[in-house]
Symmetry: C2
Subunit: 245 residues, 2 copies
């Protein structure tokens, strides 16, 4: 069933107005008729099963038949921090991470990042990233649209990433601690940070700074993954480990 994200909080019997691109999609893409059903999601974890009640010149009105907690939201909130990769790789990561249940994504710059867009190019990129997140959230049945933050510097990333119950950084140079070790050692957690490098990964200095800030560096095994594969693999493993899969 088609899903539309709008802001608000509703109850059974309420009428919800869909306008702008949502209205366009209902009218001209799906060509829906009154009485047909669709799902509205408030982006904060609730789904509303609705039926189309009426049209006016610009908008579409639907009535709420039932309200339920979105079943697709994971029980663990994963904040992904991804060092800005080259070309459109981050777009792939965002799309897949949203499908896999990520909570939010913060791009950041590390010393091996080649991509350094200027402010205008970055604003365009961020807008595009948010669109991809919204599309993937709709497609995969998410209850929220994962927020794609503005990129931050390495030190700001360290501050944000260490605010959570468990803060992990994938580091090729880590020989002793696997992702499984780190997850098992922690036991229960609700919020996890997962920090991943760009092409070439992190320098040993960055890994030391991360450890000093409280991040646990973990190995993702002996194979060298591309920078767009590593976050997908790490997120899959965290979702699998926490029973969200």
């Amino acid at each position: 069933m088609s899903k539309f994200f709008i802001t608000g909080c509703f109850e059974n019997g309420d009428e919800i107005k869909l306008d702008g691109p949502n209205s366009h999609h209902v009218r001209h893409v799906l060509r829906m008729k009154t009485g047909q059903e669709l799902t509205v999601c408030d982006g904060r974890g609730f789904d509303y099963l609705c039926s189309l009640s009426r049209f006016d010149d610009d908008s579409v009105f639907v009535s709420v038949n039932s309200k339920l907690k979105t079943p697709a939201e994971p029980t663990v909130l994963v904040s992904l921090f991804v060092a800005m990769p080259k070309s459109d790789k981050l777009e792939t990561v965002i799309q897949k991470a949203v499908e896999l249940g990520v909570y939010e994504i913060t791009p950041f710059f590390s010393s091996r990042c080649v991509s350094r867009p200027d402010d205008r190019a970055q604003a365009r990129k961020t807008e595009r990233f948010r669109k991809i997140s919204e599309e993937a959230a709709k497609q995969s049945g998410r209850g929220i649209i994962p927020n794609i933050h503005e990129p931050v510097g390495f030190d700001d990333m360290l501050k944000k990433a260490t605010e959570h119950d468990l803060s992990l950084m994938a580091y090729e140079g880590e020989r002793n601690v696997s992702l499984l070790n780190a997850l098992q050692n922690k036991g229960n957690f609700l919020r996890v940070s997962a920090v991943i490098g760009s092409e070439g990964g992190f320098t040993s200095g960055e890994a030391e700074a991360a450890n000093a800030s409280g991040l646990i560096t973990v190995s993702l095994g002996p194979r060298i993954m591309r920078c767009e594969t590593a976050p997908i693999a790490m997120l899959s493993a965290i979702m699998f480990f926490t029973g969200n899969f």
Copy 2:
């Protein structure tokens, strides 16, 4: 260090001849000189650390300094069966799956596959798939080049997929058995089949036929993954569960 796959079995002190594209790569891409080091892999799990000994008109000769078991090979052999998706999605799946440690990949046709290339187009595709597997194997440091088989029909897939210790099919309609349940129930296994659908997944009839053949249908959770995300997520989880990550 650069890695080259060749056929053969060697011991310390042996001289190995690299010709064709390997020789071209050493001479004209890497512009290596005698004395420099490179890794040769026999594609059957052994790496040979070599140094460049001499050139002739077409070939490059290297001597084996040491032979070791390729450290990057996983302890579990995962055979991935992927229903042929649209456009170039299977290329993405092959690249990522090889990085993640897949053993072999067999494309197959199910009733919801839209892509039905004719024999000539299929032969070109298979050749391209094998090239992608080889590139990804080199890049990620694998000890084998995972074989990409010719596509098979649904019934042949069922026969091949049920030859292994544990045979799993990701099925959206499965409500009771998670991937974790299926892996935990089995305990020890060396060879696993993982069967994944194309756009739209499998019909209930196909899932029943799979169950009747001995495949265990498993859920990958409440979010709807794209057909190119599901095999990457499933393979990541299997590698993570078996400590190969």
